[in-house]
């Protein structure tokens, strides 16, 4: 109770400060809107929590706990989106026995909104992924995988636009190069395109053509490859694009204690986040919006 009280108070203070600032500049009123983005990546079929004997992750993780946490966050802010950055499949017998059915059903019960596709999601072949689609009440986005000559055609869109509290949120997906990582018999005629060019295209479409207020890249290309810094990664996508506000990543199982702030191609801030793997953590990024004339986004303060 005390904690909630504190949160309310601090939010009120922020609103007051913003109104004051705007009042001097533009004499127009401002209403603060808050969009909460929750995210997971590389859960790898980890449905049950790790046991007390586990050497590394004892008593951590578990979908039933994640569910109650997400529920309490949604009660605090109904304008919450829940996203997953791929590699939903493979890692426990739940996948071996049920082929991903339980993973998708649980994600639907947790009300995931959008997910992208990781390399392990092809582990039972593209047909194995397709077979589980009826269990998913959320949508898949991937802008750089062309599925037109596969069974997944029409089941994956380049991006998804969601409007919450009048805020238009554009989410596009990026997948990793499959050749050399996944057997061709598994991904079949899925065509991979360069994530950088696609991300430049997508951010332009979402920001300029679709006038999104918030642009999110849901990526499974990996955070950053220290020993191969030119390899396409979330950090490199952040640097080479503009108009992306947040990159939610996966694949490299990178445990970031807090989101990384990177500069984009025009020197603006982009947040890059990834929460390790196996459902050990939930990422949470809150975006506060002000409506006001002639005020640019450059003033956004980032608290991480």
């Amino acid at each position: 109770m005390k904690r909630r009280h504190f949160i309310q108070k601090s939010t009120a203070a922020t609103v007051l400060a913003s109104v004051g600032g705007l009042g001097l500049q533009s004499f127009s009123p401002a209403k603060t809107k808050k969009i909460t983005i929750l995210h997971t990546n590389d859960v790898h079929s980890h449905i049950d929590p790790f046991g007390p004997e586990d050497g590394r992750n004892a008593n951590k993780g578990g979908v039933a706990r994640r569910a109650s946490l997400i529920e309490s966050i949604r009660q605090e802010n109904p304008n919450t989106l829940l996203l997953d950055a791929g590699d939903i499949f493979q890692g426990t017998p739940y996948f071996n026995y049920y082929g991903g059915e339980l993973e998708f059903k649980l994600m639907s019960m947790l009300k995931y909104d959008v997910a992208t596709i990781g390399n392990h999601d092809f582990d039972n072949g593209i047909d194995g992924l397709y077979a589980q689609i009826p269990h998913a009440k959320f949508e898949f986005v991937s802008a750089n995988y062309d599925f037109s000559n596969t069974v997944m055609d029409t089941h994956v869109n380049p991006y998804k636009i969601i409007v919450r509290d009048g805020i238009k949120i554009g989410i596009f997906g990026l997948g990793i190069q499959l050749d050399g990582l996944v057997n061709k018999d598994m991904y079949k005629e899925t065509v991979y395109h360069d994530p950088i060019e696609i991300a430049q295209d997508m951010s332009r479409i979402l920001k300029e053509e679709q006038s999104c207020d918030l642009v999110i890249c849901l990526s499974h290309i990996g955070y950053y490859y220290k020993n191969n810094p030119d390899k396409v990664s979330d950090i490199n996508v952040a640097r080479a694009t503009k108009d992306i506000d947040l990159i939610i990543g996966g694949h490299t199982h990178t445990f970031l204690p807090k989101p990384t702030i990177e500069k984009n191609s025009i020197g603006k801030n982009v947040l890059v986040n990834q929460v390790g793997c196996f459902g050990l953590y939930l990422g949470k990024v809150d975006f506060y919006f002000e409506s006001g004339k002639g005020v640019s986004a450059e003033g956004a303060s980032i608290i991480v």
Binding site: V63, N183, Y288
Partner: protein
């Protein structure tokens, strides 16, 4: 028009005049999922029947191991590796033969692909999952004798107990060069086509195994290595694999 209406109109005008929305603040953090959080009973109840079924099935006993078998026990061949390679041969050959009227010559797997020990005592489906947690499956590749010789060179240089089935006998001299390589007791014929059972990981060049390409044919059996092991173990009351002479190095 009342004062109320005027106020409403003003508000509307204001909203339209300041349509641009911008991000003023961003807060980011990560939240631990641990035992301090409540468990959603709805979710728990939904998972429960799946978990019960898996555990019941995983713990069902399919064979018995009189000893503990580890891939670390043995020099160039191990009991557990021999068990796996022979299982892949004997379970896959009937499937391959039925489809092609041909026979597999021998099996090659990789030492790194043995992911766990088989512990002394009851062998369960869980044991097979431990040894082979991945979805890799059997691929039969038709290659020329010259490439089989390349494979022998590879094995001599790798100096690892990559599992081979007993139809192949590979002997290295004291300098680890190939001393003799025989399939079904016959020297390798460079002009003959051999049918090698392996897994899709190695077929795709895993562990630096480049000798499967080019090839004269590739047969995907849609048979997971783990299922091979389960089917094979079920047929045996007791697993009794041994280190033998199939892949050895001469000492003098």
């Amino acid at each position: 028009m009342t004062i109320k209406h005027i106020l409403k109109l003003c508000l509307l005008l204001l909203i339209f005049s300041c349509a641009s929305t911008h991000i003023s603040k961003i807060e980011g953090k990560r939240i631990d999922i641990n035992d301090s959080l409540a468990t959603s009973q709805t979710i728990e109840d939904f998972i429960s029947p799946y978990r019960t079924h898996i555990n019941k099935n995983m713990d069902s006993i399919i064979s018995y191991a009189p000893k503990t078998y580890s891939k670390m026990d043995g020099d160039l061949n191990t009991a557990i590796g021999n068990l796996m390679a022979d299982a892949v041969f004997s379970e896959s050959n009937p499937v391959f033969n039925k489809r092609t009227q041909k026979n597999i010559d021998f099996t090659l797997l990789n030492h790194g692909g043995i992911r766990s020990i088989i512990s002394k005592g009851d062998v369960t489906i869980r044991s097979a999952f431990g040894v082979m947690p991945f979805e890799n499956s059997v691929v039969v590749v038709a290659i020329k004798g010259t490439q089989v010789n390349e494979m022998m060179e590879y094995l001599s240089k790798a100096k690892r107990a990559h599992p081979i089935s007993h139809q192949l006998q590979l002997t290295l001299d004291k300098n680890s060069a190939v001393s003799s390589a025989k399939v079904h007791g016959e020297p390798i014929d460079v002009n003959r086509t051999y049918y090698i059972a392996t897994n899709d990981y190695l077929y795709n060049g895993g562990d630096g195994m480049t000798f499967f390409r080019p090839n004269e044919g590739k047969y995907v059996l849609n048979y997971k290595i783990r299922d091979v092991l389960i089917d094979n173990f079920k047929k045996k009351d007791t697993l009794n694999p041994k280190i033998d002479q199939r892949f050895i190095k001469l000492e003098d």
